[in-house]
């Protein structure tokens, strides 16, 4: 059956759009759910990682002999225990276990497996690492300056023009038109620079895994991850194994937000298990999570926008500089592509520089690269609109990208929902509500691409007529419920008759990680197609029983029926009835679908933020917050609202409090939740949500990804709001109280 690519169903839904209880809910509130650290094995050892105390140091030698001699120590590994990484994976390996140099505070340099955690820690102290401490750099602009300490000399690619620091790894450029000609037509050209700090995804569950490997090389790995197929492929490559010899099972996951789309401890646990010949468990503590996993990039961005006095943008130009830690790969490309995506622009250009510094290698964080870019662009547009006395929503409507707009990054948009979110914002009571003293209101738009990718689903009909959906993506945002709902919808059976399970890597083909807001879209699409395949099979069985053509049997309301009066007069056969006699009609019934899902629809959001700033302390309180976003089709609206709220909250934290603070020594100063401040329930009002449904033509039900777009607008929405409340334009995140206070007092604080 072909995908209905150009005709999303406008049908009325029975299950999709309802709000059933989540199947993992009771397990999670009762503690029965098993997370990464909850698994044990007989004879298990505890792994511990020794980490660099230096921001940048050459490793002259590592002497592990004293640690190995300690009673209870069963294996010690260093980089020497890993084969050379295959091409393209060298950095992943180097990040998991340092080679010639330790490149950041917390970089793994050796690991121990011992019979207890205490012995493993004691052994770590016995490992002697001979470091030659090197000069370091942690700030993106400092890393780009001439004479900055170079992390990897000679690794800049051919896109980097001559004369740049060796820390600039690559340069990207997007856009069209003539910037200078466009700027010349403007009534005002605004030039501003913006900075954002590195933030961490802040997932509650630290990384944890349990590795076992037999002497024959067959291995099993249990871990908390956003993608166990990725873990399998990566670990197999780093350990020189066949992918088929490594079976990975994903635990329940206590949050990831992109931070669990790569490996950190998993290859190390496998290497220790291989060397020790016993199972090895590694659990990170919070300090390790903050020092040595993958926070997002910090950024420094210059924006030039020309606008006519009636609010038309004549040209838009931005230079984005992102540091993504010690290796190439900051999300500056996606930042550059997304920066001006919400607007229909004749002249637009973005240039991005990927810069390395002595910080942990960044990992994806919810719409990687986009929130910082949106902060800069949406702040500049706000300032221009205000300067002309224009309504910031009107200015955005005037310039909004629509169906047929050539996007700033190249493709032409199909049906999109930006305009609808802007109009909904104007109509929302929040937009016209009165403000109190010291309060301000800000608005901002956000865009995210969304993603599809490799996906496999198998749907099995059991003999008693229940259905199991087997999929390969860890359930982070409630996807088991969503898959069960879509299967139930398609099969015409109750939601309660479907159970969705997350299979291990042995059960299905390749699945992309749970990222790019892809699961409800891509796995949903595959689930629908798997259900359709099962329906076709069931119709064929019934046709055989009735002795009529397959085409004369249709599926309706959970049963096979004759297609019409000419097909014959047979009573409908339900799914349960067909399942009960499947053995006699050809054997078990299943449907499956394997696809590289394309057609993920882009999505847009508009956020409204009200803040109140205490002029004496610089403290900012979120007074009211509204998220308006296009979901395409909300399969489980409560989870969609949860995604909207969660993204907004993380963005609010990024805007107001969260930051990686490095000392002059290059050591992270706040590796714990006492000093790294994420917002909690008591910091926030209820986040109001509005779900719009502009169907995605690329999905049978019109679904768009919703998980990431919601973190894109808040940085700018909150900054625009604080700027309105204080009368001072805020261009440097986070807007922590001392910074706001200094701005309010119009003075620089040292």
């Amino acid at each position: 059956m072909a995908l209905d690519k150009n005709a999303p169903e406008t049908r009325s839904f029975k299950v999709v759009g309802s709000r059933p209880l989540r199947p993992d809910g009771i397990d999670k509130v009762t503690g029965r759910a098993r997370f990464g650290a909850d698994m044990s094995a007989p004879g298990m050892l505890i792994g511990h990682i020794l980490r660099s105390p230096h921001a940048h140091a050459r490793i002259r030698a590592i002497d592990t002999s004293k640690a190995e001699a300690l009673a209870g120590v069963k294996a010690v590994v260093t980089r020497a225990d890993f084969a050379a990484a295959p091409e393209g994976m060298e950095d992943v390996l180097d990040n998991c276990m340092a080679g010639e140099k330790a490149l950041y505070d917390g970089h793994a340099v050796a690991a121990i497996a011992a019979t207890s955690a205490a012995i493993a820690r004691q052994a770590a102290k016995l490992i002697e690492v001979d470091y030659e401490v090197l000069p370091h750099v942690t700030d993106v602009d400092a890393a780009m300056a001439p004479g900055a300490p170079a992390l990897h000399d000679g690794r800049s690619d051919e896109t980097v023009p001559d004369g740049y620091s060796a820390n600039v790894m690559s340069r990207v450029e997007y856009g069209h038109g003539d910037i200078e000609a466009g700027l010349a037509k403007a009534d005002r050209v605004l030039e501003r620079s913006y900075k954002t700090a590195a933030t961490h995804q802040g997932y509650i569950e630290p990384h944890a895994c349990l590795a076992t490997m037999g002497p024959d090389g067959q291995a099993d790995l249990w871990c908390c991850t956003q993608g166990h197929y990725m873990v399998r492929n990566t670990c197999a490559a780093l350990l020189g194994m066949d992918q088929g010899q490594l079976r990975v099972t994903a635990s329940e996951i206590g949050g990831g937000f992109g931070g669990k789309t790569t490996v950190f401890i998993e290859p190390v646990a496998l290497a220790l298990a291989r060397k020790a010949g016993r199972p090895v468990k590694i659990v990170m503590d919070r300090t390790e999570v903050l020092r040595a996993t993958g926070p997002t990039a910090s950024s420094s961005i210059d924006v030039r926008i020309g606008m006519t006095k009636d609010g038309r943008i004549t040209a838009a130009d931005a230079e984005l500089r992102y540091q993504g830690g010690a290796y190439p790969g900051s999300p500056v490309g996606m930042g550059s592509m997304s920066a001006f995506a919400p607007y229909d622009l004749e002249n637009v250009r973005t240039i991005g520089y990927d810069v390395v510094t002595n910080r942990p290698k960044q990992a994806a964080y919810r719409a990687p690269g986009a929130p910082m870019a949106a902060f800069a662009v949406e702040s500049a547009i706000d300032e221009l609109a205000k300067g002309f006395g224009l309504d910031p929503l009107d200015v955005r409507l005037k310039n909004a990208a629509r169906e047929g707009t050539r996007s700033s990054y190249g493709p032409t948009f199909p049906a999109i929902g930006l305009e609808a979110t802007l109009r909904a914002a104007k109509d929302h009571p929040h937009w016209s509500a009165p403000l109190g003293p010291n309060q301000g209101r800000g608005v901002a738009c956000g865009f995210w691409f969304n993603f599809g990718g490799d996906t496999c689903v198998t749907l099995n009909v059991t003999p008693d007529g229940t259905v199991t959906v087997t999929e390969g993506n860890p359930d982070i945002g409630g996807s088991r419920a969503s898959m069960s709902m879509m299967a139930a919808e398609e099969l015409g059976i109750p939601y309660e008759k479907v159970r969705t399970v997350i299979a291990d890597t042995g059960a299905l083909g390749q699945n992309e990680v749970t990222d790019g807001s892809r699961v409800t879209f891509a796995v949903g699409l595959a689930t629908i197609e798997a259900a359709r395949a099962a329906k076709r099979e069931m119709c064929a069985r019934v046709a055989k029983i009735w002795g009529i053509d397959e085409e004369a049997v249709i599926w309706e309301d959970g049963a096979a029926k004759p297609a019409g009066p000419n097909a014959g007069d047979y009573p409908p056969m339900t799914l349960a009835e067909i399942a009960a006699i499947a053995s006699n009609t050809g054997g078990p019934i299943a449907g499956h679908h394997e696809v590289n899902a394309e057609g993920a629809g882009v999505s847009f959001a508009t956020h409204i933020a009200d803040t109140e700033v205490d002029p004496d302390t610089g403290a900012t309180r979120i007074v009211r917050y509204t998220v308006i976003q296009d979901a395409g089709k909300a399969v489980h609206p409560a989870y969609v609202e949860g995604q909207f709220q969660g993204g907004a909250v993380q963005g609010i934290g990024w805007a107001l409090n969260e930051e990686y603070i490095y000392g002059a020594d290059g050591i992270l100063q706040n590796p714990g939740f006492l000093d790294y401040r994420i917002p909690v329930a008591s910091d926030l009002p209820m986040i109001d949500t509005v779900i719009l449904e502009i169907p995605n033509p690329g999905h049978p039900y019109g679904v768009r990804g919703v998980g990431e777009t919601s973190i894109v607008p808040p940085l700018a929405a909150v900054a625009n709001s604080v700027s309105a409340a204080t009368g001072v334009r805020m261009t440097d995140l986070p807007m922590s109280p001392p910074k706001v206070l200094a701005a309010v007092q119009g003075q620089q604080e040292g």
């Binding site: 004496d616 000093d675 401040r677 001392p738 604080e749």
Partner: protein, 281 residues
């Protein structure tokens, strides 16, 4: 991380507890509510050889009212204070401060004596003792002595308590008729450690009479500034000029400079909490 190994004792009398503390060979540390000490053990900031859990010593717990003063046993929990029916009448300043002391779960376990003995610079209870002119009773195997709060808090986590002594109780003067109280603190988030706070009492609010204002979270120990109090006595609580003169007293404070707030920010915030507390006096 988990705590390093330690021995654990839970005596059921004060004399037994004091005997354990008196024996230097024990390397003992008293454990009260554990709301600070246990995290310190788990972070391995503290590593005593023995913990002497005081929760079994009944005589350390309880509130007794002798009319003009209130005796509070060291193992009295914040929760016990909050539930004491006479709290608002007898110790209105404490009643104002209690909701700011961490969170419910911590107030259920945390003790008055534990907070006073630890002397965290950002803690509320030491400042309350200073503002209220409380007396702190210390007991050791050798006997008992009483130290005024003004002489008890010496610096960062440093007090007049000797290692073999326990804070066994505090005696706090009851509020006199007409006494005014005010409490204000600024923390990154409600319940967090304060970046600046002040607890104050006065015999009258306007003009301010006999002001006693104890700041916390700004320096190594809770601090009263005689120059500041003198500048405000006799003035109206909203007298901007007087407040400006008063805050010049901050010159003598060695403000904490850390990630939460620089010294300059703290000095500014100390002025803010002073002004806001005066407005509520």
């Amino acid at each position: 991380m988990k705590a390093p190994d330690f021995r654990y004792e839970r005596p059921e009398s004060l004399s037994a507890a004091l005997a354990l503390l008196a024996d230097e060979a024990n390397g003992a540390q008293p454990l009260a509510g554990g709301q600070s000490l246990m995290p310190m053990l788990n972070f391995r900031v503290a590593a005593p050889e023995m913990l002497v859990d005081l929760s079994g010593v009944a005589e350390l717990r309880g509130i007794s009212d002798s009319g003009d003063s209130i005796r509070i046993g060291a193992m009295t929990r914040y929760r016990d204070l909050a539930e004491w029916s006479d709290l608002e009448a007898k110790l209105p300043l404490v009643a104002l401060a209690l909701p700011h002391i961490a969170h419910h779960a911590i107030r259920n376990r945390g003790t008055i004596g534990g907070s006073i003995s630890l002397a965290d610079p950002a803690a509320e209870m030491p400042a309350l003792m200073m503002a209220l002119d409380a007396e702190i009773t210390l007991t050791s195997a050798d006997g008992e002595r009483t130290v005024p709060a003004s002489e008890f808090f010496l610096g960062f986590y440093e007090t007049a308590r000797e290692e073999n002594e326990l804070v066994t109780s505090v005696r706090v003067p009851a509020a006199t008729s007409g006494q005014r109280s005010a409490f204000y603190e600024l923390a990154p988030r409600h319940g967090d450690y304060a970046m600046a706070g002040v607890a104050m009492v006065a015999d009258a609010a306007s003009p301010i009479t006999n002001l006693r204002a104890a700041f916390f979270g700004i320096a190594g120990q809770p601090i009263r500034l005689s120059v500041l109090e003198a500048a405000l006595n006799g003035k109206a609580p909203d007298d901007e000029a007087a407040i400006t003169v008063a805050t010049a007293a901050f010159d003598e404070v060695d403000f904490i400079d850390d990630l939460k707030a620089s010294a300059a920010t703290r000095r500014h915030l100390a002025g803010v909490v002073l002004k806001r507390a005066l407005a509520e006096l």
